[in-house]
């Protein structure tokens, strides 16, 4: 079976390795190789209830913490799968050579992380993502040498091609020449990461913009809980992006504070008790927002609070948090052992995305999704350390389901031939756009990002969301210029506008506050009406948002 995988971060690599192990051929299609993937930025760790600290931990507690942090929006069965299999996954990765920190007994070491009372986050200093990517890339090497994993680099996903409503192939663009080609396959697994490209400055990478998700949305795939955007509490701004200071800083003891009446005020500890700094991310971010906006108590009168690591030992700051120290010294000129780090919440993760069932199927038969692009495990708010886990476990599960679904037999030879023909036709149609359009796509994108950043903030209201929808709707007639070598940019801008609208509409539709969705006009959680997935879909040019039962299972086709 030929499995085409979009993206070569943790989800894509994990899917490819699993597919190869199960006897399939995996094609990893992406603009850049794994070492450039956004996954390398993952900092703090990967969660698994290893129970090696004498704290009587169990996967059931990991399950409960994940569901609670997600405020009951995730599918219980999916989260059960994830948490139950996490320890086994970690043991496999450790045996395969991922350089996790080790405790004295030789077990992968654990640290505290937000939203969890037990030490449950396996770590590698403060650079888990890079270690996991290096580890998985090395493992993949063996299958690359056997020809079971093939890299298709310098290629961008443009459009999916369906036959009788079933996946048949994709149109890809060569990032250098702009040449378009039709790539057929039996199965498509999407591992293209989150939706950072819709916003101005996030903690993400620029290759991981979300254009793949936006394109699939335009092709009719169902999206879930798009309103659920994680603002990570501790980030700082550079001229080009926001940079994350890992939750590990607080997991190792770091404290958040501001100054009130001339004295330090540890607001998280004051409001939530001694473990207050390690509340789930939505709670911490909303607290910082409250301090800076409602109380006007930002440090030095700015939108920022202090993160204090100075009292921690040298070993912790310079070894266990090595990457944090390195980054703040380079981009802030601050040594966290000596100085206070100014931080403010920044967009970091998207709990919503391609609606994905517990088997990692999507609403289009033959297409599977995993990792940051998928809406599956994290509900209304993700626990730190669950994204790396969700990506690796998700990629693996997606590849296993795809194999079990027997996708190779789903389409007849005739329908494949027809699909190839319609692929070629679509390719010509896309190419015919070259030279059309009047405006630099970057300028339109900047305006979309401006609207999204303004109206999809930490706190939302109907008035503001309506205004955002109006502004994006008005942009319908702006036509991005289609450059011959690069039609993907113009296409992405058109797709982003539609996905952005769906996101604003989803936030408007959910008239409650839950997890990362905070509505000033609906401050209460409303389980009676909104303990549901907000499903968004584009049909006949119209965006619809509706309630979908949590835990819906999709057809294998």
């Amino acid at each position: 079976m030929k499995i085409l995988i979009i993206g070569c971060g943790l989800a894509g690599l994990s899917a490819a390795i699993t597919a190869a192990r199960e006897g399939s051929t995996a094609i990893l299609l992406s603009p850049l190789p794994p070492e450039r993937a956004e996954s390398v930025l993952a900092a703090g760790g990967i969660n698994a209830a290893l129970n090696t600290k004498g704290q009587d931990d169990s996967w059931q507690q990991h399950y409960l913490d994940t569901m609670k942090a997600g405020v009951d929006l995730a599918d219980e069965a999916a989260v059960r799968n994830l948490t139950e299999h996490a320890p086994e996954l970690i043991r496999e990765l450790a045996a395969d050579g991922v350089a996790f920190n080790r405790d004295d007994a030789g077990n992968p070491d654990l640290r505290y992380f937000g939203g969890e009372k037990k030490m449950r986050t396996v770590y590698a200093k403060a650079g888990i993502g890079k270690q996991l990517i290096s580890g998985l890339t090395a493992i993949a090497g063996r299958y690359e040498a056997e020809g079971r994993i093939k890299r298709m680099l310098r290629q961008k996903f443009l459009r999916v091609v369906l036959a009788e409503g079933h996946f048949a192939g994709i149109i890809a663009e060569d990032t250098d020449s702009g040449t378009l080609s039709y790539v057929p396959a039996d199965v498509l697994i999407i591992g293209s990461g989150g939706l950072s490209g819709l916003f101005q400055k996030t903690t993400g990478s620029c290759v991981s913009s979300g254009s793949v998700s936006a394109s699939l949305f335009v092709s009719g795939i169902e999206m879930g809980n798009l309103e659920m955007i994680q603002y990570h509490p501790t980030t700082f701004e550079t001229p080009q992006k926001r940079i994350l200071i890992s939750e590990a800083a607080r997991g190792e003891g770091g404290r958040l504070f501001t100054v009130r009446d001339g004295k330090r005020w540890y607001f998280m500890e004051d409001w939530y008790g001694k473990d207050g700094n390690l509340m789930p991310r939505d709670v911490v971010s909303q607290s910082i927002y409250r301090v800076c906006h409602d109380m006007k108590l930002g440090l030095d009168g700015k939108d920022q609070v202090g993160l204090d690591l100075t009292f921690l030992s040298d070993e912790i700051v310079h070894e266990r948090l090595k990457e944090i120290t390195d980054i703040t010294q380079t981009y802030l000129g601050l040594d966290p052992k000596k100085e206070i780090l100014p931080v403010y919440p920044g967009i970091h993760y998207f709990m919503g995305g391609i609606l994905t069932d517990r088997n990692h199927r999507t609403s289009i038969p033959g297409i599977y999704a995993a990792g940051g692009c998928a809406c599956i495990y994290h509900g209304a708010n993700r626990l730190g350390g669950n994204s790396t886990l969700g990506a690796i476990f998700g990629g693996k599960t997606a590849a296993q389901t795809a194999a079990a679904d027997g996708q190779k037999e789903k389409l007849t030879r005739e329908s494949r031939r027809d699909a190839a023909k319609s692929g070629e036709a679509l390719l010509r149609e896309l190419r015919s756009n070259v030279g059309t359009g009047t405006e630099r796509s970057g300028a339109i994108l900047a305006d979309i990002q401006d609207v999204m950043s303004r109206y999809m903030g930490i706190v939302r209201s109907a008035d503001e969301l309506d205004e955002g929808i109006r502004l994006l709707s008005e942009m319908e007639n702006r036509s991005p210029y289609f450059a011959a070598r690069n039609i993907s940019d113009a296409l992405a801008v058109q797709d982003f506008r539609l996905l952005g609208l769906a996101m604003l509409q989803s936030a408007l539709f959910r008239r409650e506050s839950r997890g990362s969705q905070v509505r000033a006009d609906y401050p209460e959680r409303d389980d009676i009406h909104f303990k549901v997935t907000c499903a968004a879909q584009l049909r006949d040019g119209n965006i619809s948002v509706r309630k979908e039962e949590i835990g819906r299972i999709f057809d294998a086709g």
Binding site: V40, G127, A138
Partner: protein, 226 residues
Amino acid sequence: MLVETIVKRGEAGKKGSRYDTFHIECSGNMTVAFLLDEINKTAKEPVAWECSCRQKMCGACAMVINGRPRLACNTFVRDIGAGIRLEPLSKFPLIRDLTVDRSGMRDIILKMQAYPTEGAVADYADHERQYLASTCLMCGCCMEVCPGFTGKDDFGSAFAVNSMYRTFSQEKDPERKASLRKGYRKIQNKGCIGALSCAEVCPQKLPQASMMSRINRGLLLFRKNA
């Protein structure tokens, strides 16, 4: 300050190249990556360059900056001054402007079989070096300054040492070790003259000397034991 940036422009398959000059007003705290973004906001023909994380963790933006290979996102105007010259890494096939094809790096790793096979076991005792070896960005800066690496033969240069270091310390099977040793000697040992310029320019400051000597020592001891 007004920063003058001179960029080498060229394209695969086309002969010749030219230098374009751009002027950007910015503070010394800006990076070369920022300058390139600014340049591309108005350039008639945008400068092609590779960029992903913008915080020195992915290696995409390696290029030759004022004669030395560096990461654009980790090179500040305050450190190199207001006269900046940008050229692509010269030992890889040029794609366009500052973009080169570094896929040959993966080919070298696969040719050296620098990946774990069935039965490979992680070596915990050596955690610190394993960790460091795994932080290699695959940016190619080391290859730019390596006197042995020409891109025309099999020689891998320093980045390959990182993958090999991990693999060699994980593999336990004598036959597999012997085959790795053969590949390593052929691809790595013969080309390295020990200049260690690689360690000088490595953005991750990886301890190439100690890793190489550890591998070499392992190879010698292994030969004696076998």
